[in-house]
């Protein structure tokens, strides 16, 4: 800005010759453009759906659609994709972060909490901001991080030891580091989600649902890190819903948040999926529906006030976190346009809700479901299967029919794309459980025939009846599956769609691939040698479209051959 002011001084024009004026104007344009493009305004984030260059928030836009307007890569030419660069991380943790790309610079996180800036066209590293989290951190499922947020020139990262950091996107230097109130790492509070930027606020939620936390979502002033509001995901005394918790079970009731929510600018609401109640697999101590666990909540983004909620799995005893991305779409519903939310839940049902009111519109299984006998007209599950001390076999299994990995909605095809664990099951057994701070507060670990995700090579010797994976395309108007791309092994990767009708995803068996968004036909695949583990994203640099996947302990970036 100093140079900008300097070159605009009037004496420059009075003293200089025409050439000087031309040079000065050139400098003005270059400097001015750089300064201007470096500003990631919230308005720019809001326009993510039409941004043909950058990827500015976790799901690409605040709608959560993970749909890109880029069209250079098409169903016809996607077979010509060529590996451009690979970024190998130092960490052996799972690589679950979705990167951001701003003006040719990619920002991502090396688990657990190192921030890295790379050249998005070549993968060369500009800088690394190292962060060593407290060894007292308690993580149920790996020391992972799912990404960053950016506003203006500042990156935001929430850490596994309860901090929120602001980092200069140019230099990699720390701007501020706040300890989030109450997020004690030793008690199981952690942050693994990518923050969501709405207006001038940074919104994050706490993980730790397996440690007897009391979950919350909190908004922070982006400039100062000062907390603006907080919403408790577990209703306490004086709050609506407190009657759904027996005794003082709300104090350690879980309700974690570990996947980024969404935002509707017209309604001024932000939507977040809430995790399981605790203890996970024994609900005896928490009689009641346990609000707002396993729910989606709609909050006024300025105040954090609850506008509505919808609970998918009341009094959950299966660990069916509802943290999936609440995808916002405007679709024709019974002959008129309607603002809806599309939600493929870990509990095996696909839901359509009215996102203005929370009204239940549709709920249908998208894989084998045995934990209930159906939904009533309000969407409440009926005849839920209780756990016993002898164990009960339930579909879907403890990892769910889908999980944290992102779905996608294409406004072009009108279809909703869901990474799915097909016909997987677990045996759930009720065992006594006692709360001790910092220890798992879960009950008996359910058993399943499928191993949890690890970054190494996947070995699959299962029989077909022991479960498999798929990318499914669902028509939101009916809940009917339009097509399915079946995989031998399960899937831990998100789905990306593009305006050229290409679906990108990957599977545990080590392929990343492209499908035809209208038919599910396999168009391209590459064996990258490790389980695909994040949500694919796409961006452009210099007019060239790139697609990035994380798999194993590396990120693989492709573009069309030149």
């Amino acid at each position: 800005m100093t140079r900008l002011r300097h070159v605009t001084k009037p004496q420059w024009l009075r003293r200089g010759r025409l050439l000087h004026v031309i040079v000065a104007c050139g400098v003005l344009v270059v400097v001015g453009t750089t300064a201007l493009r470096a500003q990631v305004t919230f308005d720019r984030i809001l326009r993510g759906d039409t941004d043909k260059q950058d990827w500015l928030t976790y799901s690409g836009s605040p709608t959560g659609q993970r749909h890109s307007p880029l069209t250079q890569i098409t169903p016809d030419n996607v077979k010509n994709l060529e590996l451009q660069w690979v970024f190998q991380v130092r960490s052996l943790e799972k690589f679950e972060a979705t990167p951001l790309v701003v003006d040719g610079v990619m920002y991502t996180v090396q688990a657990p909490n190192d921030v890295i800036a790379l050249d998005a066209a070549t993968g060369r590293v500009f800088w690394v901001y190292p962060y060593i989290p407290s060894p007292l951190s308690r993580l149920c499922c790996g020391r992972v991080n799912r990404g960053l947020a950016i506003l203006e020139n500042t990156l935001y990262m929430a850490t596994i030891d309860g901090h929120l950091l602001a980092i200069d996107a140019k230099t990699g230097g720390l701007v501020w580091n706040v300890t989030v109130s109450g997020a004690r790492a030793e008690a199981g509070y952690s942050f693994t989600t990518a923050p969501l930027i709405v207006k001038d606020k940074v919104i994050i939620g706490t993980a730790g649902g397996e440690y007897g936390i009391r979950g919350f979502l909190a908004a922070f002033d982006a400039k100062t890190g000062r907390e603006a509001w907080r919403f408790h995901t577990i209703a306490g005394p004086g709050e609506k819903g407190t009657e759904t918790w027996a005794g003082e079970s709300w104090k350690i009731g879980g309700g974690s948040i570990w996947v980024t929510g969404t935002y509707d600018r017209d309604l001024n609401l932000t939507y977040w999926g809430i995790g399981n109640p605790g203890p996970d697999w024994n609900g005896d101590v928490r009689a009641g529906d346990n609000l707002y666990s396993d729910s989606v909540v709609a909050l006024d983004v300025d105040t954090g006030q609850l506008k509505w909620h919808f609970q998918f799995t009341p009094h959950d005893v299966y660990d069916y976190d509802s943290v999936q991305v609440p995808v916002l779409a405007d679709i024709s519903w019974q002959d008129s346009m309607r603002k809806v939310m599309l939600f493929a839940n870990r509990n095996g049902l696909f839901y359509v809700l009215d996102r203005t009111t929370g009204q239940f519109l549709l709920g249908k299984p998208f894989t084998k479901v045995t934990w209930n006998s159906g939904l009533d007209d309000k969407g409440r599950p009926q005849n839920m299967v209780p756990l016993t001390e002898d164990g009960v076999l339930v579909y879907p299994g403890v990892q769910g029919a889908t999980n944290w990995y992102s779905p996608s909605f294409s406004p072009r095809t009108g279809l909703f794309y869901v990474p799915t664990w097909v016909n997987t099951y677990s045996t759930f057994t009720k065992r006594p459980v006692e709360y001790k701070e910092g220890q798992r507060y879960t009950g008996a670990l359910p058993a399943m025939p499928i191993r949890l995700l690890t970054p190494g090579p996947a070995i699959n010797r299962r029989r077909p009846e022991e479960g498999s994976g798929a990318i499914q395309a669902i028509d939101p108007k009916t809940g009917v599956k339009k097509w399915e791309y079946a995989m031998s092994d399960v899937v831990d990767a998100g789905v990306l769609t593009t305006a050229s009708d290409v679906v990108f995803s990957g599977g545990r068996e080590g392929y990343v691939f492209a499908l035809d968004a209208r038919t599910g036909t396999m168009l391209w695949k590459a064996n990258v040698g490790g389980p695909a583990s994040n949500g694919p994203m796409t961006y452009a640099v210099g007019g060239r479209q790139y697609v990035a996947f994380a798999a194993g302990n590396a990120m693989f970036v492709y573009a069309l051959k030149q």
């Binding site: 058993a447 399943m448 070995i459 079946a486």
Partner: protein
């Protein structure tokens, strides 16, 4: 005759094992996963029966420093300061499967021969009458269609070994599964299933060749539920069974 009764009793106990596993929430695959981790990481000190460290017996379900699954998992992860028990880098879920395996040790029939076996006689039976070496190798000598047994004594308990000898199909570990692939021209390939994905199948065929088959060229893939290993229920008497088990227990990967 008394020996025959003993063998039949053990068969009954073997058949009961999976029922227990499901009844208490740990499915066989869960226990198996934990068992593989245990065998790879813990047996060097604790031994396959969990009694390798003096004063500690993980195999009887009694733990000095914890009772709940979570407490035991925490010890597995964090170690015991001031002792030889180190912290480990398992995920908590992995630690949970190890707990499941240890629980199964305590409740599944420890079994094993009730009479002492002779290692030398067992080796003779293994290489002779039993014809075990036609499929299994020890120290690189023998067949390859079955798993190598060079280190089997480090990872499997006497009861496990005896059950496998008597009823090989009762509990086929996933690393011992056999697969039959039928080509479009009707040709059949049978072998040990090594891995698979959506497009390919990896196996070791009956000649010991590592093969990758394109699923598009196959018209049928079947993972077999019967083990190709014969039962030794009628082939070996109780003493011979004890001898073979003793020999297998002596195989610890060292000359």
């Amino acid at each position: 005759m008394p020996m025959r009764i003993s063998v039949l009793t053990l068969v009954a106990l073997t058949l009961a094992a999976p029922v227990w596993a499901q009844g208490h929430g740990y499915m066989p695959a869960d226990i198996e996963n934990g068992g593989l981790l245990y065998q790879a990481n813990c047996t060097a000190c604790h031994g396959p029966d969990g009694d390798g460290v003096p004063g500690i017996n993980l195999g009887n379900g009694k733990f000095r420093r914890g009772t709940s699954d979570d407490e035991i998992a925490k010890i597995i992860l964090g170690g015991v300061p001031g002792t030889a028990m180190p912290p480990n880098s398992f995920s908590e879920s992995q630690a949970g499967t190890i707990v499941a395996y240890l629980r199964s040790l305590a409740t599944s029939p420890a079994g094993g021969p009730t009479i002492p076996g002779d290692t030398r006689r067992g080796r003779t039976l293994f290489e002779g009458k039993g014809r075990c070496v036609s499929c299994h190798s020890v120290a690189g000598i023998g067949g390859r269609t079955g798993p190598s047994l060079t280190e089997i004594g480090s990872s499997r308990r006497a009861g496990d070994l005896q059950r496998a000898l008597l009823d090989p199909s009762a509990d086929i570990r996933s690393d011992s599964r056999q697969v039959r692939a039928v080509m479009r021209d009707g040709a059949t390939i049978t072998g040990r299933l090594l891995n698979q994905d959506t497009y390919t199948l990896q196996l070791m065929d009956s000649s010991g060749r590592l093969r990758l088959l394109d699923k598009a060229t196959l018209k049928e893939i079947t993972i077999l539920k019967e083990s190709p290993m014969p039962s030794y229920k009628d082939t070996l008497d109780a003493q011979e069974l004890a001898d073979v088990v003793a020999y297998l227990r002596s195989l610890r990967g060292r000359p």
